[in-house]
């Protein structure tokens, strides 16, 4: 039952009431119909029937009377008059029979009516036959006909008519009884049905009110709590928006500083890259110079080697001279030996030998001196060669160092360009951060507006709850107090958030987020809702 909607509950209750009412009405209508039918029967059938039958009866009795009278010894004129009256009565009977034919009620009635008709026809036939008798014989036959044939038939007709009258009275009584029974039953059942209907309606109404009130009360309570929480959440959202806005402002200033620092770093890196390039050029020049020096060194080495070679040639020549001097010396010595052995005779020869020897010695000394000089020259040249080699080695080392320096400077330049790239990427990131902080600022503004709207929503919700409570007959003062407090607070928050908005607008660049409208944040068909509620409560 609790799963039924209110609509269904009302429909159920109404349906039950309608069914009961229809039942009672049907029953009452049926009773009225029965009563009506009985009364109609009585009024339209029984009563005319009785009237017709009584007419027939009276006509028949009149006929009996007139016929009986005609049988007496009266004048033919009187008799003829009586017969005329009789014929008129018979016509009346015919007419009334025709009338009654339309008023026949049932089989019994039909049987009785047929009997009446048969008797009437017999009577008419008898009368016709007796009229002829009257014309021919004025005495006995006619009287006999009257007394023996017509009167019994007439009496039978009267009896039949009376039987039919009794039957019709019985029918009338029956109809009356039926009407009474119907009225009695209606009198008995209708109050009972009405009472039952009232009870059911009251019960359903109580159930409906109770269930609906319970559910609506719970909803109202929850709505009230929801409104309170919404108001509180609105306050929190407003506070968060404030914090967010503050954070966005701080972030924007930090981003500004970072951007400035990045600019400086970028400039420094550019100058570093320029310097590195210059250093690279210088290193390249130094390397070229060192290479030239190395080349010159190798030329010098060749020259030294040439000096060495020619010195060696000279040394060989000097050695030859020395050898010649030595051999000359030996020759001189041999000559001296010969001279000595020759004694006094060889004295002159000895002098010559001595001279030759002295020349040889001088030549040897000169050769020796030359050899020494040549040796010195060779050794100097070799030392020069060694120095050249060392210088060459040094130049090679310098060249290698310069190459390493070149490499390092190249690395520095590459690193500087990579740094520049990194810095540009950081710049992009910083710009993105800037956009984000602006977006955050806008979002905070929207959030503040949304908080305001939320607060208004909470107010509307509270109003709805109050009306619902009024409808439910509940006291919502406590909730009202609670809400009032939160509304005041959130109002403050909202105003603060609104105050922050221009500051954030300062931060925002022209291309940044569009101005946030409160309606953008939360579409709120407030009027519609309240109107709907009003119409509902009305």
């Amino acid at each position: 039952m609790n799963k039924l909607t209110i609509q269904n509950r009302i429909i159920l209750t109404m349906s039950l009431v309608v069914i009961l009412t229809i039942s009672i009405s049907a029953y009452a209508l049926r009773s009225v119909f029965v009563l009506n039918k009985s009364v109609a029967d009585v009024a339209e059938n029984t009563v005319p029937s009785l009237k017709v039958l009584y007419d027939i009866k009276s006509d028949a009795q009149a006929e009996i009377g007139s016929l009986a009278l005609s049988a007496t010894g009266i004048s033919p004129e009187a008799r003829q008059k009586l017969l005329t009256e009789n014929a008129s009565a018979s016509a009346d009977i015919e007419v009334n029979l025709k009338k009654y034919d339309a008023l026949v009620s049932d089989e019994e009635d039909r049987r009785l009516f047929s009997e009446i008709e048969r008797l009437n026809k017999a009577l008419v036939a008898s009368v016709s036959k007796s009229q002829a008798t009257i014309a021919s014989d004025q005495s006995g036959d006619y009287l006999r006909a009257i007394t023996q044939e017509i009167v019994p038939i007439s009496e039978s007709l009267v009896a039949a008519t009376e039987a039919d009258i009794a039957h019709n009275i019985k029918l009338s009584t029956k109809s009356s009884a039926e009407a009474k029974a119907s009225a009695d039953s209606a009198n008995f059942y209708l109050p009972f049905g009405v009472a039952l209907t009232i009870l059911v309606v009251i019960g359903m109404a109580v159930w409906l009110i109770r269930s609906t009130n319970g559910a609506l009360g719970m909803i109202s309570t929850n709505l009230g709590e929801g409104a309170r929480q919404t108001a509180s959440a609105a306050g929190q959202v407003a506070s968060s928006s404030h914090a967010l806005s503050q954070g966005a402002a701080d972030q924007a200033s930090a981003v500004e500083e970072t951007s400035a620092s990045l600019e400086e770093i970028s400039t420094m890196i550019r100058s570093t890259a320029d310097n590195a390039r210059k250093a690279k050029d210088l290193a390249g020049e130094a390397r070229a110079v060192a290479d030239e020096g190395t080349q010159t060194m190798s030329d010098m080495n060749e020259a030294m080697s040439a000096i060495d070679a020619s010195s060696a040639e000279v040394a060989k020549i000097v050695k030859n001279i020395d050898e010649i001097a030595f051999q000359t010396n030996i020759l001189a010595l041999n000559a001296a030996v010969e001279a000595a052995r020759a004694g006094q005779a060889g004295a002159g020869f000895a002098v010559v030998a001595d001279e030759v020897r002295s020349l040889a010695q001088r030549s040897a000394a000169a050769a020796k001196e030359t050899a020494e000089k040549i040796d010195a020259a060779i050794s100097n040249s070799r030392r020069g060669s060694a120095c050249t080699a060392m210088v060459g080695e040094s130049l090679n080392k310098i060249s290698a160092r310069i190459a390493a320096t070149d490499q390092l400077v190249g690395d520095i330049a590459a690193a500087a360009s990579e740094q520049a790239l990194g810095i540009s990427q950081i710049s992009i990131a910083i710009n993105q951060m800037d956009s984000i902080s602006q977006a955050n600022s806008a979002t905070a503004q929207q959030s503040a507006a949304a908080a305001e709207q939320l607060d208004a929503q909470a107010g509307v919700m509270h109003e709805l709850v109050r009306r619902l409570d009024a409808l439910l007959g509940r006291n919502s003062d406590e909730a009202s107090e609670r809400y009032g407090h939160s509304a005041q607070r959130s109002g403050k928050v909202a105003s603060r958030a609104v105050i922050r908005a221009p500051q954030m607008a300062i931060l925002r660049k022209p291309h940044a987020a569009r101005p946030a409208a409160a309606s953008d944040a939360i579409p709120m068909p407030a009027d519609e809702m309240t109107d709907g509620f009003r119409s509902f409560s009305a």
Partner: protein, 177 residues
């Protein structure tokens, strides 16, 4: 061979004055009387002779004469050295043991220097080393021109060592001669 030479009193034991041929051996200066010198030649190929003391280097052919050559360094128990263009062979003639026969012999020296005239005053007596054997080849010591020169008795060196006899007895050398 040279009759006049053998006849002349070249070396007088008492009178050492005369001309000397100076040469060096391992930095030391030596001198031998010029009368003992036949001639000075350059170092030339030496044909080795077996079963001789190590200081006997072999024989050379000097203008058809086979002469025995000894190395004075080895003779004086000095360390041997390689021969070079300054190395000379001093050809001396040595009288035989009996004095009846002259023999030419070669002495390998580091180099020859000069022929000098030494007077008596220039020549000092052999210093007394306390061991007689060490001074048996020395005639005296000269100190001319500041350097000490040892005056050698070259004949004694060859003769007293029995080199001459050895060579004379050697059939190989005898055959060569």
């Amino acid at each position: 061979m040279n009759h006049s030479l053998t006849a002349s009193p070249v070396v007088a034991s008492s009178d050492l004055e005369g001309r000397y041929l100076t040469f060096t051996l391992g930095g030391d200066n030596y001198a031998i009387p010029v009368m003992n010198v036949r001639e000075i030649i350059h170092m030339c190929p030496i044909t080795p002779v077996r079963r001789m003391p190590d200081y006997v280097k072999g024989v050379i052919n000097l203008r058809g004469s086979v002469i025995v050559v000894i190395d004075l360094r080895l003779k004086f128990a000095m360390s041997p050295t390689d021969y070079n263009e300054r190395t000379c062979i001093i050809v001396v003639h040595v009288r035989g043991a009996g004095g009846e026969r002259d023999t030419l012999m070669g002495a390998i020296v580091d180099t020859v220097e000069e022929v000098v005239m030494l007077s008596d005053g220039d020549i000092g007596p052999t210093p007394d080393f306390g061991v007689p054997h060490d001074t048996q080849y020395m005639l005296g010591v000269s100190t001319v021109n500041g350097s000490v020169k040892t005056l050698l008795d070259i004949e004694r060196i060859f003769r007293e060592e029995g080199v001459v006899e050895l060579i004379a007895a050697d059939p190989n050398i005898a055959n060569l001669t």
